[in-house]
Amino acid sequence: MHDRQTLAGEFRRMLPEECVIYREEELIPYECDGLSAYRKVPLIVLLPYTAEQVEEILRFCHQRQIPVVPRGSGTGLSGGALPHEQGVLLSLARLNRILQIDRENMQARVQPGVRNLAVSEAARPLGLYYAPDPSSQIACSIGGNVAENAGGVHCLKYGLTLHNVLQLTLITIDGERLTLGGGSLDAPGLDLLTLITGSEGMLGIVVEVLVKLLPIPQQQQVVLAAFDDIETAGNAVAEIIARGILPAGLEMMDNLSIRASEDFVHAGYPTDAAAILLCEVDGVDAEVSEEISRVREILQQSGATEVRTAGDDEERVRFWAGRKNAFPAVGRISPDYYCMDGTIPRRQLGRVLKMIGEMSKRYGLRCANVFHAGDGNLHPLILYDANNPGELEQAEAFGGEILELCVAVGGTITGEHGVGMEKINQMCAQFRDEELETFHQVKRVFDPLTLLNPGKAIPTLNRCAEFGAMHVHAGKLRFPELERF
């Protein structure tokens, strides 16, 4: 057991006074991240200004065997930055400078606390932007994006965080600073940069990131299509891809999310549609117009009941506003909602949504679905009321069942939000013991004492054994009717 007062004293000798937060009332704002159902008060919060201070903090924590939980902007949705009661919560929020924008090499060097959108804003005068755009981009930090390998609505064409990061400066748990990757397109040795990206702060602390910038497309255009059946909408997506079109964005919403969004932002969505698709094309003027007319034709042939092209940029932004505000919109129609993040092979969409519909009846909880249709990433939003005893637990059980369904149809329990604390049990459904054990061994290569974000992302084999005992009734797996992948 570490004593809060004593430790605070030691950290205050190491860091400026305002960098050490230890009074109980000041610790409360840090007790959760974007997943507020999980809360813990950390022992101490540290807010260093520099990478050198991060080195010093880590060396100290390593020596004293104090757990360290890193945190960016705290917008994560899987409890990855849930504090450790006996540990330090290390906020990178003050490492928030854009260090360089290199127009010639089309790169930006930033600190981890820089907000995602701030990079594009800084690059805009040079005609460049940073492609990954998670919905939380006005608030979320680049460091957090790296930790989660964040996605967004333009991944299909422009990739995930991983595809847009060139170099990371990492501080190991014992305080050594290392450079992974570089300004060139590859680096010598094993590709540790890919391993660190998406590792949820379990392997080291990122203190600097070199990202790739792209030219801002000359033209963007979006088509909205309405469908009276969600499976027809899914088939239309497959048809667009089959015809060789790679849209910049391809999003789907079901009726409940359409209605919630329409009430909230008045995007002009058809509220009687079973599903809508938003398909964005970007490039140069002539080519965009040509591709848009092909997309319209495909959508019409695929059974859309209505196809609308945004008349001007204002309408385009409005079409997107509905989608980008889907989560808060759902937040308005229910006291609480629980956001899931499974990915499925797109062809399974109809079946998965049908089964989610059945689960919804069984649990007695409504569920709105928004879908990054281009890359199969499904976000069911389970509506519940935490004030009703037992409803949160029901929502969690419902969510868990959805994720296990995603695995059963050949997908994954998390496409872009991370495992964190939230999906740790479902990891047991996706991976076998040998694979989990390999993950633990990899962790120990970087962090032999398991001090970095302990207990997150990778379940212990014991935990899985207990979880399995709970879930496998009479030796039967869930969804026995499905072929296992």
Binding site: E148, T343, H417, E434, T438, V445
Partner: protein, 355 residues
């Protein structure tokens, strides 16, 4: 005739036997990249028989194939549906397997715009040095469950395990590609124009510069090409499919030289202190240099420019081939080797001398 064979069990037994005796194995696909990497000892273990496309869903943009599947077979299947492997893997001597392409981490001319093997790799089934068959990643575009261990295998030179199956993201093949010629003197003189075109969003999919010859490959409509020709004062020529393939497979005359061939990977706009002739690809991000100068001298010049150098062909294959690592990174690498291959049986020494 495409073979479709699952040899997982045979390979697993071969690995268990070798591990039991701590006997090294040299993993071999078609052997088209046998020249690449450090020379290593060990009993050859052929992986080429373990082949066949397991699933290909054009509308999902994903192909899954056994590691020994010929790149040609994959390319043919994709072409039929108007798709392609975006990293344009080289096929030296017209051969190569998908497992070898991933393990070597090598990409062709499209790399800066289409991605590298590690970017396109979605998941895999790996046979590790304990004889375990492990699945990492998946067959979907987005997957952040667990550490991304499948991508770690890209470029690991087969030192961590056997790639039994790989799932790869594919993309639509551009309906039209065109070749442009820039006449602008040498590389230093041509570079500003090339970079201007890139920043202004010209849809480049490959670049080549050697001496005073500069070519670009574009993916766009004929009409757009005409606009580009006018705007930048460049010349459009025939598409030259064969030229770009020869560049990819190093069949151009430039590559027939006998001196050690160095692959220099540096930030595209960086200058290297060198008077020697080089061939430039990836808008300057990769440069090919034939040189008998000491490796240490070449490496330090490239390092000063923010890059690294690989002794790609020829020269002393038992010496230092890949760029030396920071000691701590080398330790981490050895630690990872220990996780996947505790007996050290897979391609020992092929990547770095000590693992």
């Amino acid at each position: 005739m495409a073979a479709d064979r699952d040899c997982s069990e045979t390979l697993r037994r071969a690995v268990l036997d070798a591990a039991g005796e701590s006997r090294p194995l040299q993993l071999m696909g078609h052997g088209s990249k046998a020249f690449y990497g450090r020379a290593c000892l060990g009993d050859p273990l052929s992986l080429a028989e373990h082949s066949g496309i397991i699933s290909y869903e054009p509308t999902e943009l994903v192909i899954t194939a056994r590691g020994g599947t010929a790149l040609k077979e994959i390319e043919d299947a994709l072409r039929e549906k108007g798709q392609m492997l975006p990293f344009e893997p080289p096929q030296f001597d017209g051969k190569g397997t998908i497992g070898g392409a991933i393990a070597s981490g090598l990409s062709g001319p499209r790399r800066p715009w289409g991605g590298a093997p590690r970017d396109l790799l979605l998941g895999m089934k790996l046979l590790d040095g304990r004889g375990q068959i492990l699945r990492f990643g998946g067959q979907v575009m987005k997957n952040v469950a667990g550490y991304d261990l499948s991508r770690l295998m890209a470029g690991a030179m087969g030192t961590l395990g056997i790639l039994l199956e790989v799932s790869i993201k594919v993309l639509p093949k551009p309906p039209q590609e065109h070749t442009l010629m820039l006449s602008a003197g040498d590389w230093a003189a041509a570079r500003p124009l090339l970079h201007k075109m890139l920043i202004e969003g010209v849809p480049v999919t490959a670049s080549y510069s050697q001496g005073e010859q500069h070519k670009l490959r574009l993916a766009c409509s004929q009409q757009r090409v005409e606009q580009i020709v006018q705007r930048y004062g460049v010349e459009a020529v025939d598409h030259q499919v064969d030229f770009w393939r020869a560049l990819r497979d190093q069949q151009l005359d430039y590559f027939t030289q006998k001196e050690p061939l160095w692959r220099l990977s540096i930030p595209p706009a960086a200058d290297i202190d060198s008077k020697e002739q080089m061939l430039y690809e990836w808008s300057g991000g990769v440069r090919w240099l034939f040189s008998a100068r000491p490796g240490s001298e070449i490496r330090s010049r490239v390092e000063n420019a923010g890059g690294h150098a690989i002794l790609f062909r020829n020269g002393d294959r038992s010496g230092e081939i890949f760029h030396p690592l920071h000691p701590r990174l080398a330790d981490m690498q050895k630690g990872l080797k220990q996780v996947f291959d505790p007996e050290g049986i897979f391609n020992p020494g092929r990547h770095y001398p000590d693992y």
